[in-house]
């Protein structure tokens, strides 16, 4: 009782519990977090300001758009936040979907202008489909014979896409044909199905081929999704039919709008169809319908704003990052300079990286997690390998550049600075990251699933194929996309393998010399003209960050979807 008398009450301010140190620690942690975030934010604002230069516009211009676009959208955001129903999410998705769809459309436009003709695409898709068809049919009717199955799995795609290399038999066939006076165009090798399609004497027009190989498959996927969700085949077919009709309407409407028939088809496939399916779902479920207003208000605001600005004669800003920047090549004059060839180079490099790294990385991860022994001297060896993969993930990127230089350029004598060399060198760099993240994903599959599968009398292969991989796939994809995000920004290996500082034309093939976005940005940083170092450079950085943001956003969407299922 004596102590309570001295210190007042046991639960009051002057009790014996001391919170001071804890509170100080908490404040320090908060300060550290805030410092990091705020400094990155300031840097980004700085760069964005350089890239877009919003303050080069008249005050009236800013005020007009603030009133027509920013204020209504901000008000709507607050409204959604208070409403506390899915409207906010609906607004977010309906605004984001068109952006992603447009990016995809742009990707295909670049694909068709730089890499493939529509006919080449058509032939590739058809021959791949034929190969898949053969494999599936074989699996259905003769799955028992393991060796034959393997042969079909390997040969069907090869014959369909690549054809057979020159062999004795073909010399015989061709020579015989020539001796008989027949020229059937065999020329010592068996042509592939793909080449055969390209040699057809009559070809459908571009829009027909696009409709058959791009619009209809995607529409079919959409229809399957709708049919599943609504548990009605008819609704699925309706979705397919509507998409096809909308696409065909482009024959007339496309040229009128100014995007051409092919552009219309791509837009219908990647923008209209996904949005249509999503909006239909929102309307039917009647959840968060209010969110649909958001994109409408945004578009209307921009439209009204542009009318007002035109009428009142306000001058807009002169941003460095504009349509011209995205669609033109580097130039001596800063205002004409653009990033287009470097962007194409980056995308092609990513294709090389995905094709080379994903199978190798995931294969290695599966072996290490599912097959590799954990005891005995082999177990020790495996542990050693795993430790070294961890170490390789930390090796500086410039060293991988050196490896690429030595291996691909000096030894294999592939062209210096070509897309394939860049892709393989950067691919080596992210290979350990992909292996580690895939291992992590495979390890997170509960052991009880494996036990259940083995207990049913499944072989190890069946267990991996049917139980482990489907469960681990979202994790593997997330890890891979994040690693690709790292790859697209790597600069040092590109410098080492001699990627071009800037190119006028986008690369047309994987052995062409190319520049990539970070390499192009780096070369702008050493230009004498300050307009390059401040304006063009900032625009390039923002473009690179936008691509990264889209990739990481995709990874997050996949991960969230996966977690929601659990």
């Amino acid at each position: 009782m004596a102590t309570t008398d001295q210190s007042g009450r046991w639960h009051g301010e002057d009790s014996e519990v001391n919170h001071l140190r804890g509170r100080a620690f908490e404040a320090t942690c908060l300060a550290a977090t805030a410092l990091g975030l705020v400094s990155v934010l300031i840097l980004l604002l700085f760069v964005a300001n350089d890239a877009f230069r919003p303050f080069s516009a008249d005050i009236g211009w800013i005020a007009t758009y603030a009133v027509t676009v920013l204020v209504p959208l901000a008000a709507l955001t607050v409204f959604y936040y208070r409403l506390d129903d899915p409207a906010g999410e609906v607004a977010y998705v309906t605004s984001g979907l068109p952006v992603v769809g447009l990016l995809l459309t742009g990707g295909f436009v670049v694909l068709f202008t730089e890499l493939l003709t529509v006919l080449e695409w058509f032939a590739l898709v058809l021959s791949l489909a034929a190969a898949v068809g053969v494999i599936v049919a074989h699996g259905r009717y003769r799955s028992g014979v393991a060796l034959e199955r393997l042969a079909v799995l390997v040969l069907a795609p090869l014959v369909a896409v690549l054809g057979a290399p020159p062999v004795e038999f073909n010399y015989f066939v061709t020579d015989t044909a020539a001796a008989l006076g027949l020229d059937v165009g065999l020329y010592y090798r068996v042509i592939s199905l793909r080449e055969a399609i390209m040699m057809l004497p009559f070809v459908p027009t571009d829009w027909m081929m696009l409709l058959a190989t791009l619009v209809l498959p995607v529409a079919g996927l959409g229809g399957w999704f709708v049919g599943n969700r609504r548990e009605s085949r008819r609704d699925g077919w309706t979705a397919v039919g509507l998409t096809t009709v909308t696409a065909l309407a482009g024959l007339v409407a496309g040229p009128l709008v100014g995007v051409g028939v092919e552009g219309w088809l791509l837009l219908v496939t990647f923008v209209v169809l996904p949005i249509g399916i999503y909006v239909e779902g929102v309307v039917r479920r009647d959840e968060g319908r209010a969110g649909l207003v958001f994109p409408v208000v945004a578009v209307l605001g921009v439209f009204v704003g542009s009318l007002l600005v035109g009428a009142l004669g306000f001058a807009g800003p002169e941003p460095w990052l504009d349509w011209g920047f995205l669609t033109s090549a580097h130039s001596r004059t800063p205002t004409d300079a653009g990033i287009y060839p470097a962007m194409v180079g980056s995308v092609m490099m990513i294709i090389v990286i995905v094709l080379s790294t994903f199978p190798v990385g995931v294969g290695a991860a599966i072996y290490l997690e599912e097959y590799a022994p954990s005891s005995g001297w082999m177990g020790k060896f495996v542990t050693l390998v795993e430790i070294n993969i961890g170490n390789l993930a930390g090796v500086p990127s410039v060293v991988y550049g050196l490896l690429g230089l030595a291996l691909f350029i000096r030894i294999l004598e592939w062209p210096q600075g070509s897309v394939i060399v860049a892709g393989l060198a950067v691919g080596l760099l992210i290979l350990p990251i992909i292996i580690i993240s895939a291992q992590e994903a495979i390890r997170s599959v509960p052991d009880s699933f494996r036990q259940a599968s083995y207990g049913m009398g499944a072989t190890r292969w069946q267990t991996i194929r049917q139980v482990v991989l489907p469960e681990a796939l979202p994790g593997i994809l997330t890890g891979t996309i994040l690693a690709l995000g790292r790859a697209i920004g790597e600069t040092a290996p590109l410098l080492m393998i001699g990627a071009a500082a800037s190119v006028r034309l986008a690369p047309n093939g994987f052995f062409d010399v190319a520049s990539m976005m970070p390499r192009q940005i780096f070369s702008w940083s050493s230009e004498l003209d300050p307009a390059f170092r401040h304006g063009v450079l900032a625009a390039g950085v923002i473009t690179l960050l936008a691509v990264l943001l889209v990739m990481n956003g995709t990874a997050i969407v996949i991960r969230n979807r996966y977690q929601r299922q659990e």
């Binding site: 699933f449 036990q451 207990g455 049913m456 009398g457 499944a458 072989t459 049917q466 299922q565």
Partner: protein
């Protein structure tokens, strides 16, 4: 004792009796003799089935630790054999020896013989995968795959290429597992949406869909509430008409309720007593078993 009578009938009428002709001569095995002796002295039990699984001086080690010591045991066909004992006594280990699930544990080492239908399953020419296709297993915690109910039951049939009449086989398995009426309208729903007891019955349906000879159950009801447990117990008694059931349980009342034979394992991995369930619970031979059953320890 209708249970026993029924199992006897089915033993006699099924052709699978032929499969046991090659089984090792029971007279050479002291344990079978002993159990037959007890059989004779116990008037309440009808008779014993033919042994379908036989362990002979089986030792199991995990690294340096011996988990099972010199186990001799003959498990009769189409009856429920329960294994009870305190934690860590090796009863689950023994169960996992039968279908060679211990092969998946690198540190496990097995010595001695274990015969299934007269074939030593640890012979070099035995493929553990083929063995597990004849000996199904149900685990302690319900572990359905994160697939639809239908795909879960069809899993075993698909991996064994028995895909003709798939719908029919799935329906039969679900009916035998007493789950059909509860799930027939939601076969496409995820199995993870079912309750714990339903999930465990789904796991049983999955195990019996491929029509194995033996079903091993590792404490199948220990993670379930009493009502789900009693459903599983009823199911086990029904299953014994067609399958040989071996069940590990912590729950002595459960063993007494559903099993025909009971094996008592005690600490150190010893099989102390193996006999008819009535005999074990009413008049055990060993003092240690009596102490365990009456709750003096364990």
């Amino acid at each position: 004792m209708t249970q026993n009578e029924m199992s006897n009938e089915s033993t006699d009428s099924t052709p699978s009796a032929d499969g046991a002709t090659s089984s090792p001569d029971p007279s050479g095995d002291p344990l079978v003799e002993q159990s037959i002796d007890v059989e004779g002295s116990d008037t309440t039990t009808g008779s014993t089935g033919k042994p379908v699984i036989e362990a002979r001086s089986l030792d199991v080690f995990y690294g340096d630790v011996q988990a099972l010591q010199d186990i001799d045991m003959a498990i009769p066909e189409k009856q429920v054999t329960a294994m009870i004992g305190p934690s860590g006594c090796g009863k689950s280990t023994f169960l996992r020896c039968i279908n060679r699930m211990n092969d998946l544990v690198d540190a496990a080492r097995i010595e001695g013989d274990l015969y299934f239908e007269g074939k030593n399953v640890y012979d070099d020419d035995v493929d553990p995968v083929a063995l597990r296709r004849r000996i199904g297993m149900v685990f302690q915690h319900p572990n359905p795959f994160p697939k639809s109910i239908y795909d879960n039951v069809a899993y075993g049939l698909r991996i064994q290429d028995q895909t003709e009449n798939l719908d029919q086989k799935v329906e039969t398995a679900l009916k035998r597992a007493a789950l059909w009426d509860e799930v027939k309208d939601q076969l496409d729903k995820s199995a993870l949406d079912l309750s714990g007891g339903q999930q465990q019955r789904l796991c049983i349906a999955r195990a019996i869909a491929v029509d194995p000879d033996v079903i091993l159950m590792d404490e199948p009801a220990s993670a379930l509430d009493p009502i789900a447990t009693s459903k599983i117990e009823d199911l086990i008694e029904e299953l014994a008409e067609e399958f040989t059931v071996v069940i590990v349980t912590h729950n002595m009342q459960q063993a007494a309720r559903i099993s025909d034979k009971t094996a008592v394992f005690l600490t150190g991995g010893e099989l102390v007593e193996f006999d008819d369930t009535n005999q074990i619970f009413e008049n055990p031979e060993h003092q240690r078993v009596e102490d365990y059953i009456t709750g003096k320890f364990g």
